[in-house]
């Protein structure tokens, strides 16, 4: 029994595939050139095999870069499918175990994002469609303590919000967290499986939260949560002038420079109760129109400025005093953060559990996020229909540069 793979396919394939891929790797225009070259060589219309290879090459061309200043999966527009996976380190783990785990994940993630199987992957075909896969790694307080790195003061559970919280341990905390996002749910599932099994001796899964967004999201088709509300409006310009709101700077631990923090809160939605409310009340609860997401005070888009002072004939605020928009509105410039939320609807037997995986990235969650969440806990009409059931905070490692493992600076 020979282990050789020098079969007919391998012998015939490489040169043509190289030509097509070379054409594709540059840009979209390159794909056209590559296709032209492949068919011209045949002297006729594209064969099934050529079309198939082109599709596969197109799938491979969806790979996102892994190495860089920051981790992938933060600045990019969110892909429609996501899985958030929190892990607990195995009992008795030490600094070396953390380093080994991050060594394995760095290699696995780099391969998976490139559309390749991991080293131990016997089903590497499942990795071939990169589907814009990004995997983003966060670490909890215990990891930082085990490694002996400086722990940022905010790396701890959020303060309790007793007015609203019904937190459950099974949806909260964790030593490590993976945010796995892709355009294909199969790609997400495979990455989750490989990244879980490859460190099975070092960490166990604590919780898994699946999420989805609008696959047709784009101009005219916004991300809507399961209340039908346009979500993720009024984002800071984190790729530009507001980058200091996102990335840890000189005032944070050196190992976390160019890293960030992520808050993951599981917000259950009482959809049965929501369904009983008329449309005007729904819009009043958030202070925005359902159709465009514009403030109820006017405007055409979700980005239109809200007039918080506008009053009606009776002298009442047009935007309700307890409307989500008003309560969430930043009272200071630093009370802003990058939201990357995903909806969920998981069945438990015949019961749907629906809601939002609220995901917020920021340099300092206590300074930026907690003031907003405190106001929402005190008063927010949406609280009638929402219940936070999970909450976790992680330090988001900086990007791995050439030759580095993720979190390398932690071990300096």
């Amino acid at each position: 029994m020979s282990g050789s793979v020098d079969g007919p396919a391998a012998a015939a394939g490489p040169c043509r595939r190289t030509v097509i891929l070379t054409g594709l790797l540059g840009a979209g225009a390159g794909a056209v050139t590559g296709a032209g070259a492949a068919t011209a060589a045949d002297g006729g219309p594209p064969t099934d095999a050529a079309a198939q290879e082109l599709r596969l090459a197109g799938a491979r061309a969806t790979a996102r870069p892994f190495r860089g200043t920051h981790q992938a999966g933060i600045l990019e527009p969110p892909q429609p499918h996501a899985m958030f996976v929190a892990f607990d380190l195995t009992e008795g783990s030490d600094r070396d175990a953390v380093r080994r785990l991050l060594t394995v994940w760095t290699d696995d993630i780099e391969r998976l994002m490139a559309g390749r199987g991991t080293l131990t992957d016997l089903e590497h075909e499942l990795a071939a469609v990169a589907a814009s896969l990004t995997v983003t790694v966060g670490v909890g307080p215990e990891v930082v303590e085990l490694v002996g790195a400086a722990k940022p003061p905010w790396l701890a559970p959020l303060p309790a919000f007793p007015q609203v919280d019904e937190l459950r341990d099974e949806w909260s905390h964790g030593d490590l967290m993976l945010q796995i996002c892709a355009d294909s749910p199969t790609t997400v599932a495979h990455a989750q499986r490989r990244l879980t099994t490859s460190v099975a001796d070092l960490a166990t899964v604590r919780w898994v939260q699946r999420g989805f967004r609008e696959p047709f999201e784009g101009p005219g088709i916004p991300m809507r949560n399961l209340f039908g509300q346009v979500d993720g409006t009024e984002q800071p310009d984190v790729a530009g002038v507001d980058s200091g709101l996102l990335w840890v700077g000189d005032d944070g631990p050196a190992w976390l420079h160019r890293g960030s923090s992520v808050v993951v809160r599981r917000i259950a939605m009482r959809l049965d109760e929501w369904d009983r409310v008329d449309r005007a009340s729904r819009e009043n609860a958030i202070g925005r129109r359902l159709d465009t997401g514009a403030p109820v005070t006017g405007g055409d888009t979700a980005e239109s400025p809200a007039d918080l002072d506008a009053t009606d004939d009776l002298g009442f605020h047009v935007i309700d005093d307890a409307a989500h928009l008003r309560r969430a509105h930043a009272s200071a410039p630093h009370e802003r953060f990058l939201r990357r939320p995903y909806s969920y609807d998981d069945a438990e037997g015949g019961t749907m559990r629906s809601g939002l995986v609220f995901v917020a990235y920021q340099a300092d969650p206590v300074r930026q996020f907690v003031p907003v969440q405190s106001r929402l806990a005190e008063a927010d009409l949406l609280n009638l229909w929402t219940v936070p059931v999970g909450s976790a905070v992680f330090a988001v490692l900086p990007g791995a540069r050439d030759g580095e493992i993720l979190g390398q600076a932690m071990f300096a």
Partner: protein
């Protein structure tokens, strides 16, 4: 193959470079710029090599594990991997997996070693040919590396490969080659 460099292979090697160190002149066979290899200095390389992690101290301890990956021969002549050594192992054997008399898959030493065709490859994988590390002197922990020396018909090559946790590879072992194996 040297006249038609595989883009996919270059990408793979670049990606692997941080964790997979190929010894001696190994890098000469796959320059980053993709130029054809200089066959004069080319040696056998192991691409995407890894060793299954093993705990020699645990309750379900074993003192055996295996090396997998793709052996590549950039030369114009057939090359044979004749044997291998590893500081972490007391004994190293080249194995194949073959069905026994009752049809079950069993591994056994491969007579004649692994023959890599000129310009070709030979895949070592769970359930197939592999390099068996036995009488391990220490645990091989997930996320570490280990070095194995491949003795080939054109010289020795050191390969340093990552150690990875893996759930498969539970074939049973027969120490002697069966008469039908080659």
């Amino acid at each position: 193959m040297p006249h038609c460099p595989l883009l996919t292979r270059r990408v793979a090697l670049t990606a692997a470079a941080t964790l997979l160190t190929v010894g001696l002149a190994g890098c000469g066979s796959a320059p980053d710029d993709g130029t054809p290899a200089d066959t004069a200095s080319a040696v056998v390389t192991l691409e995407d090599g890894w060793v299954k992690a093993v705990d020699t101290a645990g309750s379900d301890s074993t003192r055996m594990t295996a090396l997998f990956g793709t052996l590549r021969n950039p030369t114009d002549d057939e090359v044979t991997v004749e044997s291998a050594g590893c500081p972490a192992a007391g004994r190293v054997e080249l194995h194949e997996v073959v069905p026994n008399d009752s049809g079950e898959m069993q591994m056994q030493p491969k007579a004649g070693g692994f023959v890599i065709p000129a310009g070709g490859e030979h895949v070592l994988q769970p359930g197939g040919d592999h390099i068996m590390l036995m009488d391990l002197r220490e645990s091989l922990d997930n996320g570490t590396q280990t070095t194995i020396t491949l003795s080939t018909s054109i010289g020795d090559v050191d390969v340093t490969v990552p150690v990875r946790t893996f759930g498969g590879g539970e074939e049973s072992y027969v120490p002697e080659p069966s008469p039908t194996s080659s």
